[in-house]
Symmetry: C2
Subunit: 284 residues, 2 copies
């Protein structure tokens, strides 16, 4: 039976009981609108921890003006059913007032890593993400926390925050889950029209092309970027946000590639912004 | 016997042993150069918690360029003797490399509360303070953490960070300890020449004057500020940084005072910057 914890006090009580019994805890923070990508996190947590908690919270501070905070899908009943199905023990599902009782002044600042890639097009996004994740780690102190590789920059920033601020939690990165045609699962895919959905495979195809060029010996990051940009710009309805090849930890441009790097793309279809990425390495 | 913990791993092991035994922990973060003000924190912690840990760490990220990071007093042996005397169980005393293994990108940003008072003259100071305090709270998760009212803005910011980021710790504010002539104890008092030391009582005298004016019915914050500024500027060798009367939580100017407010002053004597404050309230 999956228990729903609507308040911070409920969450603290639940964790204390589990901790006092000596059980380990895995946490997977989510915005809800759960799909198979989330389920893969829950299963991994289930395999590695005595208890699994997830959070479902559409965090307003990580959405900018004009973004999709209002229309972001809220599907609590089906989310709960899926969590139950996957053996999740607890769902922390606070409302906005519970999470932000007073107007927030103190924020976690991602620094320069928050200014590139998605941070360039979504100013303030990663401040909101890191701040809410810090809050969740304090409310539900877990042994391990599970995040998808799909949100690569978010993952790097959370890993940096945890390392630099000495959070006593291990971050577990889980592989991106894809549709059969390669499209990365995302709660935002449901916004796409049939035509957009069909064209949206360009993100993964561009990334795969960069990977195969690199395997064939093209080691200049700029050439891989150029090829991805061309492919995306040639796709009907696709508006390029970025297509970059960067160091996987510093997120700075990878000029001549001699190790594993992050190829990352962001593309808009109408109002819908999709992201995807691959870790790619030259042939040894 | 007071144990010294030089590494983060040592600190985590020590805390785990105490936690597993069901003991509560009090923490008092310090920069060392301990004096009777610190001792009062340790005694309070001693009275309220099973175990008391302190940290001694001159945190480079809270000192600005041209400030006294290099010459800040480092007096570890006498600090250890005093901690032992006061029944402190553990001293976490990392070096800079241990605390900042990689160059820090992610910081805790105090927002607007970090831009006024001391934050205006010491840009970046409170980012450094909040970030290191967050790290200490993650390394030595305590039930209660003890801070002096002497550093009033630091105290408010830490209270805000703990509340807004849901740190599972109770912040205990302890009264300022003073010399018989009113000078607030500070590790920086030792920098003062005999003459500066004698004139440095102006901080407390100015604050007491503001308090007595308020008790006599002068409720305009600006008038209290003006009086304090005049007194400080008339003191030989004293260079006014600020003399303000502000709301004790928002740190915004208190115009017409109808509740307890914070009177706060900062004054330079040569290279030495001293601060002091009083919580003052109108006569009921």
């Amino acid at each position: 039976m999956t228990v729903v914890l609507p308040t911070i006090a409920d969450a603290r009580r639940w964790v204390k009981t589990e901790r006092d019994a000596g059980r380990t805890l895995g946490l997977a923070p989510t915005l809800g609108a759960l799909h198979e990508g989330h389920a893969s996190l829950f299963r991994r947590a289930r395999a590695e921890c005595h208890r699994v908690a997830i959070s479902i919270f559409v965090n307003p501070t990580q959405f900018g003006a004009g973004e999709d905070y209002e229309r972001y899908p809220r599907t609590f009943e089906s989310d709960r059913a899926m969590a139950q199905q996957e053996g999740v023990d607890a769902i922390f599902a606070p409302d906005v007032k519970e999470m932000y009782a007073s107007p927030g002044e103190v924020m976690v600042d991602p620094g320069r890593l928050g200014e590139v890639l998605c941070g360039a097009s979504r100013p303030g996004h990663f401040r909101g993400v890191l701040t809410v994740v810090a809050k969740l780690f304090h409310i539900l102190p877990a042994d391990r926390a599970y995040f998808g590789q799909k949100d690569a920059q978010q993952l790097v920033l959370i890993q940096r925050m945890v390392a630099e601020h000495n959070f006593p939690v291990e971050i577990v990165a889980c592989p991106t889950v894809r549709e059969p045609d390669g499209l990365a699962l995302s709660s935002r895919n449901r916004y796409l029209s049939a035509e957009e959905r069909s064209n949206a495979t360009i993100l993964y195809r561009a990334l795969c092309c960069a990977e195969s060029m690199l395997k064939r010996g093209v080691r200049q990051g700029a050439r891989l970027e150029h090829e991805m940009q061309q492919m995306i710009c040639a796709t009907p309805g696709a508006e390029l946000d970025y297509a970059r090849v960067v160091d996987r930890w510093s997120l700075q441009p990878a000029e001549l590639i001699d190790r594993e790097v992050l190829a990352a793309v962001a593309v808009r279809f109408g109002k819908t912004r999709l992201i995807d990425n691959l870790l790619i390495a030259p042939q040894q």
